[in-house]
């Protein structure tokens, strides 16, 4: 893996190119500035957490070919795995007591402000910004943030059409973008877009992100009973892909993607295949 050229790719199982094992294969290289966001209904936070696990779990050298491959959503991660890797967490009540903000900073004290301070401190202390030449860089800092913009982070954009803190989320993303750009790190964020009333905020969030992926669940919609979608649980919308260090981005051929989530299998398929299979029997009946 070449440092600084990191790209996250979703595996797409296309029936025209079905793999011999019949299992999805996830290839992963990482952008050092990937910011991946997804929005979905609350029921489908699970596949997004799953994506986070798949993309950012530590793979041991012996299982590098099966990186992020095996999972079971009914089970939690084993404590042994936690203890074997170096990780940092952010829990606001502890953060306030351990690392109070310097008084000279003019910004208001908010949870997201504390989170930025925490990320910046970890980047500096662990040497991910290359500031300490003595520290040998072995890996890339992977950051996962859940439900950004929700009331858990002290924002009111999910509870009001005219929120008081309308710029808090976008300012946070901009500063985070700056931190990622100047360090060897990547971040994946989930945003409950279905709760944000002000759609202008989501447009700005998209503009500030490198990669934007949406998961649209069929639950509660007319598609849930539509025979065209009977084999799938929702759609995958790749809204934006990174364009870093190049004039244009490499646009994928496939645009219509659907996903299916089972206890041990998460599949993304090209939706046009589904349409073809549905029409063919009718044509010849």
């Amino acid at each position: 893996m070449q440092l600084g050229t990191v790209r996250v790719e979703f595996c797409v199982k296309n029936s025209h190119y079905r793999m011999s094992t019949g299992e999805p294969k996830l290839s992963s290289k990482y952008y050092n500035v990937v910011l991946l966001e997804a929005y979905t209904s609350a029921e489908w936070e699970k596949p997004l957490r799953l994506l986070s696990i798949l993309l950012f779990s530590q793979a041991s050298p012996t299982t590098s070919t099966k990186f992020g491959h095996y999972y079971d959503v009914s089970k939690t991660m084993s404590p042994e795995l936690f203890q074997s890797i170096k990780w940092h967490s952010f829990y606001l009540p502890e953060e306030l007591s351990l690392h109070p903000l310097p008084l000279h900073l003019p910004c208001k004290l908010t949870p997201t402000r504390q989170l930025l301070q925490s990320i910046q401190r970890i980047i500096y202390q662990e040497g991910f910004d290359g500031s300490d030449p003595q520290k040998k860089l072995k890996n890339i800092l992977r950051i996962g943030i859940q439900s950004l913009g929700s009331m858990l982070w002290g924002d009111d954009i999910c509870s009001s059409d005219t929120p008081e803190h309308i710029h808090s989320l976008t300012k946070f993303l901009y500063v985070l973008r700056g931190l990622l750009r100047k360090s060897l790190s990547a971040c994946i964020i989930t945003v409950p877009a279905h709760l944000i009333q002000n759609k202008a905020i989501m447009e700005r969030v998209t503009n500030l992100s490198d990669m934007v992926v949406g998961l649209e669940s069929f639950i509660g919609s007319e598609r849930e009973t539509n025979p065209l979608y009977k084999d799938y649980h929702g759609l995958v919308h790749v809204q934006q892909i990174p364009r870093l260090n190049s004039l244009i981005c490499d646009v994928s051929d496939t645009k219509d993607l659907a996903f299916r989530l089972k206890r041990k299998l998460f599949t993304i398929e090209v939706r046009e295949t589904v349409l073809f299979h549905y029409l063919e029997p009718k044509r010849w009946s």
Binding site: C107, L179, K199, A200, E203
Partner: protein
Amino acid sequence: MFTELNELLDASPQRPETGKFTLLRDTRTDGSFLVHHFLSFYLRAGCKVCFVALLQSFSHYNIVAQKLGVSLTAAKERGQLVFLEGLKSCLDLLFGEEEKQSGQPSPLQFISESASDLKALFDFVRTFLTPAGSDSWKGPVLLVDDLSVLLSLGATPVAVLDFIHYCRVTVCYQLKGNIVVLVHSNEDSEDEENELIVNSLCHHSDLILWVEGLATGFCKDVHGQVMHRRARRGGTCWCHTQRCLQAQGWARRAASAPWEMAQG
């Protein structure tokens, strides 16, 4: 830079225009390739360029510029290019040491809510584009990528329009330079503040380059179309010429529709 675009606009680095405000607008696609075009164009033309880069890092623009035959690092070293890296300035403002903050005010100090206008940003632009005695550069150029980010950082639409107005007066009229600004817009956008800025700038632009993704959907060979609209102000008569061309491969499609508005 793209020679086909220069032909369409009848522009040449040997004889850059003066006093022009160019608006780059993109819809359903990414129009930042035009920013790279104008950056390399004006550097080749020998103009002094102030680049307010709010969305990407310096290394990104430098790598792309090298593919277009221009070195931003060399331009900076010889004093031809002043590069404001918004991401870095923002980090310096929020995480910088107290001693550093007592010096020159940050161009983006409006983010920290100590000021509600963009005067510091304008002062930065004016300071570096006002010619010094030893300068041998041609007209100054202000390049902004992209203006929509200022709204995300807390600036009001009025503050953004004021900033652009002051820059136009100083750069275009007083210093006889040029301004190129990129904004994003969507047809069904709910971002009213952004649409207000876009519509206002459209009325004040001498040239609009509107990049759109194809309305018929995704196509592998053609990414979109570029529409160029030039406003010629001669007396009381306004003439708009409009041409479209395909972005990928630059195949020209005849869609010129000149019309004139009679004296109102």
